[in-house]
Amino acid sequence: MLKANEYSMTGKKYLMILTGLLCLPGVASAVTMDEVMAIIKAQQAEIDALKKQLGKTEEKVEQTADAVESVAAGTEGMAKVAQWAEKTHIGGYGEIHYNDKKNGNTDQIDAHRFVLFVEHEFTDDVRFFSEVELEHSLAGEGKEGEVELEQAYIEWDYAENHSASIGQFLIPIGILNETHEPDTFYGVERNAVEKNIIPATWWEAGAMLHGQIAPGLSYNLAVHSGLETPVSGSKAFKIRDGRQKVAEAKAEEFAYTGRLKYTGIPGTEIALTYHHQEDIAQGMGMDDASADLIESHVTWQHGPFGLRALYAMWDIDGDDAEAIGRDEQEGWYVEPSYRISPRWGLFARYSEWDNNAGNSADTEVEQIDFGVNFWLVENVVLKMDWADQRNGDGDALNLGVGWSF
């Protein structure tokens, strides 16, 4: 590229050549002085434009040099820190609720969940993921809350489109069990069916294979620790009370989970999970209480319209569970929603569940919820809803704030 002074020199050369040509016989009459001056002016204008362009180019080169220098100025130690930071990611979510309870129950305000994730990539194919949760603000002897390790596993991409997770992970079941950041669902409290039947949030320790077997069709196959439900009292064989949370958990009997999930149509998820438990009481009952759980759900989102529907059913073997009507436990819900704008969304939900479905009494609980979400920003949500129960005393007006990052 020619520099500005070189262009200037080139212009002078042209001038000299033109002057020489004018001295030649016959040329002077063909090219007038005015024409020569016009040519010179045009060349000067071109030179000026080139100078301006060169100035811009130099400015860009300076910016580039500044950027390169700022990177190069980093020390080796800083580079190592940067490399570590690039491979380690921190995230989290939380939600605080106010429950204006009816039926004579005490109103509550609760820092329900405060969760931190830490993820680290050892290589492109091997990574660590963890999730630690503080529930109900205070943990310890006699306190309301708990500190829980919900996830801590190594994930290994052992083949194209196939991975293995080894450690403590969330069971691949339901809509909320794996994805439950508050800004991703409607309602202040998580829905009662997934809470009482599945029971979300549910994690175990073991090994899991997962991946995709066709476009949009994925699978999970896991062998892991199981539940240990009480075998007597009001909580006997109640699923939610069987979560051992991998805290020195009894592993006399294992459990197995398999799921197929189809997400090949944008906005749509269809999933079917089968779970088998060798003995849901871990050998504490009078006979083996092997158990099977089938869960299926559909989620659909098209434009502003959304729909979630889920069905789950437990079938527990053994005389102990059958004697108290807990050999069958099931529930379902359907939840339409409408996004008025990117910030506002309305929902309604109808739920039914019964943890004593094996008896002849009317123990089924029905609940109707409706409410509104307001997303302050994409990952921060304010919520309000009303819950109305039949055959239960969970009527409440709920307010909540939630976030994730």
């Binding site: 994930e155 052992y158 294979l209 995709q212 196959l221 062998v223 906005g267 989102q301």
Partner: protein, 180 residues
């Protein structure tokens, strides 16, 4: 105990078969830059151009991505007012390489995922998702897309990354082609 043994054996055999049969894997690189540009320009790949970002561009990028754009310039390809852009954007933790072609009418002609590096959210690479962008424009340069894009369950962050890059490409098309 018997069932446990069978299940464990099935998993172990599954792992071994996968490792033996599939060998090394080219992780997440679905489409080369050359192949993308060949598709975009019917096999006649124009020379690369460079669009330098001014302060306004950087502010717009910050508004779209919610983080600074890591670069002083963006390389692109242009033929007869049609442009192609290749931009990296992070989904959850790793960059997704996304290609966008914009027509002279300032509408998206195609979106392609060239490389995906995370373990979740890969569904965005399927045509069922990317074809939703065909014909989509921006309400005005740098603003939201004028058409609702349906998400993919379990791939929310990847979906958002692709939508951000689509917005950025539409903005750059407007800005950089009018500046030539």
């Amino acid at each position: 105990m018997y069932r446990r043994l069978i299940f464990t054996c099935v998993i172990a055999v599954g792992i071994v078969l996968h490792v033996l049969s599939l060998g090394a894997w080219a992780k997440g690189e679905y489409l080369s830059q050359t192949a993308f540009l060949d598709q975009a320009f019917a096999g006649i790949q124009p020379a690369a151009r460079v669009c330098w970002l001014n302060d306004r561009d950087k502010e717009t990028a910050l508004d779209i991505f919610s983080h600074r754009y890591a670069g002083l310039r963006v390389r692109y390809w242009q033929a007869k007012e049609k442009t192609a852009w290749i931009v990296d954007e992070i989904g959850k933790t790793r960059p997704i390489t996304i290609g966008v072609v914009v027509t002279p009418e300032r509408k998206i002609e195609r979106v392609r995922i060239l490389a995906f590096r995370e373990s979740r959210g890969w569904e965005v690479r399927y045509p069922a998702f990317t074809r939703q962008f065909v014909g989509v424009s921006a309400v005005s340069p740098g603003t939201e897309l004028d058409t609702s894009i349906d998400g993919v369950t379990g791939a929310t962050l990847s979906v958002k990354a692709v939508k951000r890059v689509a917005r950025f490409a539409l903005y750059l098309h407007e800005r950089c082609t009018s500046d030539i």
